[in-house]
């Protein structure tokens, strides 16, 4: 008798737990980023009017995006974006050390982070013997004429990703 009692109690408990998992799923979904947040995750930037060696900062998914039309004398790099024959550097403007926003020193042609002294060159590569462990990250992008769509992964971005030039 007592085993039957235990069994029924446990069957009910187990079944209730199943319902609890269902409720947890609904709770999890309630915390997902909202559709409007996701839909706003794309930013289009027109590069036609960019000026050489002048940093443009755009906002994408709440983060600053650096866009720099590279000076003619700057080294070329596989991380460069080629738009209508011009070379650009584009990256998320957060230092890979602890996430501060570096400033661009146009005269020195490098990015300088005031928080802990990290530095990056015009390709966003971290300079040696300084705190940042890796280059500035490149967000997903797609080149569409002179326009850049941030948030969408185009062939150029996929190539960089496959080559391990960004994470």
């Amino acid at each position: 008798m007592s085993s039957r009692r235990d069994f029924m109690g446990m069957a009910l408990g187990g079944f209730t737990a199943l319902g609890g998992i269902g409720a947890l799923y609904a709770m999890k979904r309630s915390w997902d980023p909202l559709p409007s947040v996701k839909a706003a995750g794309f930013t289009t930037v027109d590069l036609a009017s960019a000026v050489e060696n002048e940093l443009v900062v755009e906002k994408w998914r709440g983060k600053p995006i650096f866009i720099l039309k590279k000076p003619k004398d700057a080294e070329s790099n596989d991380r460069d974006l080629i738009v209508e024959g011009e070379r650009f550097h584009m990256s998320i403007g957060l230092c890979t050390h602890l996430g501060c926003i570096p400033a661009y020193k146009a005269d020195d042609k490098k990015f300088f982070c005031a928080c802990h002294g990290g530095e990056f060159d015009t390709s966003g590569i971290n300079l040696p013997n300084l705190p940042p462990p890796s280059p500035l990250e490149i967000p997903p992008f797609k080149i569409d004429g002179t326009k850049l769509v941030l948030g969408e992964a185009g062939p150029e971005y996929k190539k960089m990703l496959d080559a391990g030039l960004t994470v």
């Binding site: 009910l12 709770m27 979904r29 309630s30 909202l34 559709p35």
Partner: protein, 407 residues
Amino acid sequence: MAHFDENAKPFSAQWLDERLAISTVRKVLAFEYWIPKNINFLWAMGMVLAATFGILVVSGIFLLMYYQPGVDTAFDSVNYLIMTEVGYGWLWRHVHGVGASLVFLIIYIHMFTGIYYGSYKRGREMIWLSGMLLFVLFSAEAFSGYMLPWGQMSYWAGMVITNLFSGGSLEAYGLVEWIRGDYVPGQAFLTRFFMLHVFLLPLVIIGGIVFHFATLRLPHVNNQDGEDFDFEEAAELYKAGKVKESKVIPFQPVFLSKDVFVMGIYFILFFYLVFYNFDFAMDPVNFDPADGLKTPAHIYPEWYFLWSYEILRPFSKDLGLIAFGIAQVIFLALPFLDRSPNVAPASKRGLFHIWFWLMLIDVLVLTFMGKLPPTDATFAFIGLVSAVLFFVLWIALPFITKIEKKL
């Protein structure tokens, strides 16, 4: 100082017991908390209420994470953000709305069960009083929550109910403005009722529930026949294995198993309403945004306030307010107005039996009339008669119970 076993494994049963008296707590609150065997499903309403309150808290937490208490944003945060954007936001809202309505249905069933079986006297007065206190708290919680979607009904209910505080001819409009923090219900009003709804009142309600449970422990739960028996003796019989002869059962697992079964039936109804018939709990008029320059064609409170609203309506302003005030608190006095020593089901109590059914039907009729437009003369008359009858019944109660034969 208690004895502590140095060698007990941390967090083992013994270790916990020595520190928290787990086994004693379990005994007192569950395995040896004795409940009479002679009960019916109405005795499960307490646990049904506790479960509904739990569901209101959980659904409320998820609504709270997206609700925005601003006069310009509240309506859209509920109707657009929560209903359209948030995953399962609609579920939380419907559950919260239906739960808020059903909690009152169960409270009323719970109350009238207590009245029918005489579970408010002979040592059980504090159970009744703490329960009525919870009723008042739940009413305040429901009203403050009703403000939050900031629709037409929210706004106009806020307007009308706060106006009650002007005290009729006392014309205490300063007090009304103080309660609103504005000349009309506005931002300050919405934010303070938001605070009351999500923080202060739930906190007090939780305290009230604990207190209500505590008041039960010494006098014990009543039974279907109002029979007074020795619980300890009955408990000894049960523990000795003579469960058939014993008049009691332990709360856990025996009483609980029946509670859970009743809850199951209740939740079938609950979720039927959530998915297929939620309009009754979410008035369509409240889907029009608040507009201080346009009163809806019909305004009425939610169904659970209708009976006391109807007591207010048929009288002149001052008399109506006084009647309304008395109606709000008169149930609290029940243990003291019932002068009969009998604790027994109403069916065995002669005139009180008639009193019980008249009271129930009167409250129902008041509820029906409370929603109807005040313009219809027949309904207004029925409302007036019912309101008068309500007071006549209360005045008669001490007399008819005084002459009741002792059982």
